[in-house]
Subunit: 316 residues, 4 copies
């Protein structure tokens, strides 16, 4: 618990409350999601299926879609068996329920995907109605699934790699809090903009409350996020970190929330990414070493993403 | 009818006229749509089919699409019967028109969805032309339908839950008008921005007119719409609510229009939502109680959407 | 040719040159497109196929797509005939080239749309390769066509209806230039913003040049484009229309370019529309009459789009 | 290596470092991409497949998709052969592995594209499972491929043509750096905005460093990018080009980076394009000649894109 010495006003407009989270836990997870649970409404009213399906890890998404495909086929296979396998012309008549189900299942999959070989085909009113509904449903549900598949693939993302540590380094006769990031993929980000918010868990009138501060960044906009970008928060009288020594800092429960926005040329859209650092990520007395250099033949610049966290110790 | 005592200038730039709606009715419905009817142009010129289909409730949309599918099949079934059922190879020749129509109907559905089993197939020039047109039309119209289906599913929406009441609470030695809302789903809204407009139906020179005022919000932007957000309009000399007591307020015909905009990370798009409160939604002398608390194990924050309207009475 | 009496500086940042168009012709057409032709690059380098296909009138677009479908089928029909109709199993062997072409044509359409009945099927290496390529090509080209079809349908558009005339009316002890518009469809436009630019063709040192002026609008932003919006350009000393009487105005070759931007809730996108008025559209001494009124039962507002141009004569 | 005489502060917010590139090489390539290589992360983590596939030249993209289609078919053909060609009903039983593979290949392509003629059809549990998986996979992967195909086709692009040279011309009793561009296609750009950044490779304390300067543009926004737009950077005391004569200029290693943003009506989106000029592109003492003129019949304006670089020599 720190006794903050700075005189700047704390913020109210972060969207987090003053008693939002308990001591030592975070508001924002490393991956930028909120460390928050919502209750009080039925699950389905609280769920945006679209968001959930976009957030799902790739493998889980594929498994889900495959499960969905299988279940629909099982459902229709049962319906065809109930209608009577003899109404699927081309199937072997069998007394084995399992074999009939199997034949109905594959006919169903041929209908759902509209591949429709036709060696099996519906005959009679009922079987035809079911098959007609299934192919209709197939097109509609594949519209959702393939749309989602592509939406996931093409979703605007910032693809930023952040330094693991947040450091306190000497800077222009004073100290500064610094962190570093770069775009790690072959995208092209322009007009990038960063924001730092500090959340401090402090004691006030015997109660633990969370106080928020905008951490001013020396240069909060750049034209092109070509190389790595080091955010520099100078620790002056306006900073909540003002006059805290290493010991005090390490005992303070703080969280630094980083938000970055930029324009991506290929998505023609704004992308954004968030992350946060806690006291555990702080390195006191270090400075970042360059993460890029000229190529040996001098023809281009090389950015080494592995070296985003490369630093050397500095004594104040 | 109130005699407004405030001295601030009324607004002209709301887009609503001074005689826009009758006494006691609203400009904006609870769901954010306009309480407005347009006439004077043919229906089709006034209709944006795209907007209409996106706004349609889910069940109605599905029924409409299904009706559309059925009607096209009926249309083509009639054409095939007119061309002659004998040109659909594989059908049973029958003298029953109903049975022929049935066979043609299912062949049509197999063509439209491109499932094309082939146990029935077109033969002869005319039947082939019709089938070729139908499969072409099928692809084109399913492009619209499946596109719409996905557009509905993925449409950027804010998913905000608002408090049912708008309250007047004590605030910093004065009074303030307050309402509260939160994102109710698993989306992630940042850079949220709110706007309050007050519409007052007042008498002026014996005529009822509507006057509009911007209701200043103490903090109209927040970085992250993580928890609930309470909009606070301080009732000072600039406010149209200035010096109105409970009785006067309750007799005033007013409407408070709320507009919220935010950036949604997953849509990578700005989302917005509107709603409005009328005199009937006002609770005089109450304050909101917190809608969120720490989880029992202290590891995260819990937001209870059911408690957005939770308040306690206050005496001024 | 007017001698403009106003003292405000003319604009250079319109993007049009000072000798952009000849006397009496316009820079912007009524539908908002530029009255401009580009040359000096090969046609294909000057053509954005996407823009062209989105701009094409609906009927022409459908005809084009249908022609495209027919031509591809003709092409593949020829290939199948060249490969040998006997390699399409299920076709009647015939010596009539026309009949063979016909059979190949319909097989092609069944392959392209992936309906694939199968009563005709490729046999032999060559026919199989061609059919395999065609179905692949079918999927790829239908991706473009159906994508375009949906893109046209869902393209963000403002759907504004403008008054036919631009009027000069008495306004607050002076005169003002006014025009009016409204959203004519069931869309919901918020945060609308308008811009007026005046282009004057004047004589300068014996040469005709075009001068541009921003025409200040009294209220250039509104929160919600719910009803009709009248843009009011007060003719004061800053206006290029300052002290021109009716005669002088009618002899002046001017063009007023209107640009409107707004946020559409359903597209979740900014939409914009432009149009322009020339001297021929000017009505001197008139004022607009309200285009909306209360519904007879007082429950909502009625906007009559037919009355956007409704005005009455005024004598100055 | 120049000794820059201007007194304005150099920029730090370009996103390029002070030792980003070697002498004589560029930061931004002519096509606007970064002259930069990223290392230090596994290839797949550095690759955004979506960006890569959108950037690929058209022919390469089509070849890639076709290769993908062929490879999947080969894979499934092998699986069908392994399962046993006799489980594909309708194939000729043959002892030739090549012939069996061929038959399996074409069955595979009919399944993948969902054309499913059905003259060959799976029989038996295993073959049916494989075919069912393949048609499922076919729909899913064609969702990606056709989505990409359309995304490439409809991707918001600015389509600007730039003058080949950057010139230094006399301008209002002084000199100015100028370059010119125009939209070369049938798109409609409004609210265009340009930015010029100068990068100078200079010696500082015996080390070559890169210094960046914002090059002020006389008019950096225009309402409509209708005709050609000439960017004018006046060389005054604030300019890094201040008092450099032709010789000095030609010996200076500089790079002028141009960024243009505009709103495209048909994409309803912001588009942007970048390019850069180096010392080699500089023409000292020249002025641009108009690239547009009136059409012979006076009815519209003609913009000749071939004449964007048309200039005449000027002696200072």
């Amino acid at each position: 618990m720190a006794n903050l010495r700075n005189k700047s006003k704390s913020l109210d407009n972060t969207g987090f409350g003053s008693n939002a989270s308990a001591e030592g836990t975070r508001l924002i997870n490393k991956d930028g999601t909120l460390n928050l649970k919502k209750v009080g409404l039925p699950f389905l009213e609280r769920l945006s299926l679209y968001h959930a399906l976009l957030r799902l890890p790739r493998l889980k998404f594929l498994l889900l879609v495959f499960a969905f495909y299988t279940i629909i086929n099982i459902f229709f296979a049962i319906v065809y068996v109930l209608v009577g396998i003899e109404h699927l012309k081309g199937t072997d008549t069998s007394t084995s329920l399992a074999y009939n189900f199997q034949q109905a299942f594959f006919f169903s999959s041929q209908t759902l995907t509209t591949v429709g070989y036709g060696h099996i085909s519906p005959s009679g009113l009922l079987a035809n109605i079911v098959a007609s509904l299934e192919s209709f449903m197939g097109i509609m549900s594949f519209a959702l699934v393939t749309g989602l598949f592509f939406a996931r693939f093409s979703r605007p993302k910032a693809y930023l790699a952040f330094s693991e540590s947040i450091i306190i380094a000497p800077y222009k006769e004073a100290k500064a809090l610094m962190l570093r990031f770069a775009s790690k993929k072959n995208n092209n980000l322009t007009d990038a903009e960063a924001q730092l918010t500090g959340a401090f868990h402090v004691m006030e009138e015997g109660k633990e409350v969370t106080k928020y501060f905008t951490l001013a960044i020396e240069m909060s906009k750049i034209s092109s996020l070509a190389l790595s970008w080091t955010l520099v928060h100078v620790i002056d009288e306006q900073s909540p970190f003002w006059r805290l020594n290493e010991d005090e800092l390490m005992r303070t429960k703080f969280e630094v929330i980083v938000g970055v926005k930029a324009f991506d040329d290929h998505y023609s859209n704004i992308v954004q990414q968030r992350t946060s650092y806690t006291t555990n990520d702080l390195v006191f007395g270090a400075k970042f070493l360059p993460a890029f250099h000229r190529s040996p033949d001098g023809s281009h610049t090389v950015l080494n993403l592995h070296q985003l966290n490369k630093m050397e110790r500095v004594v104040f």
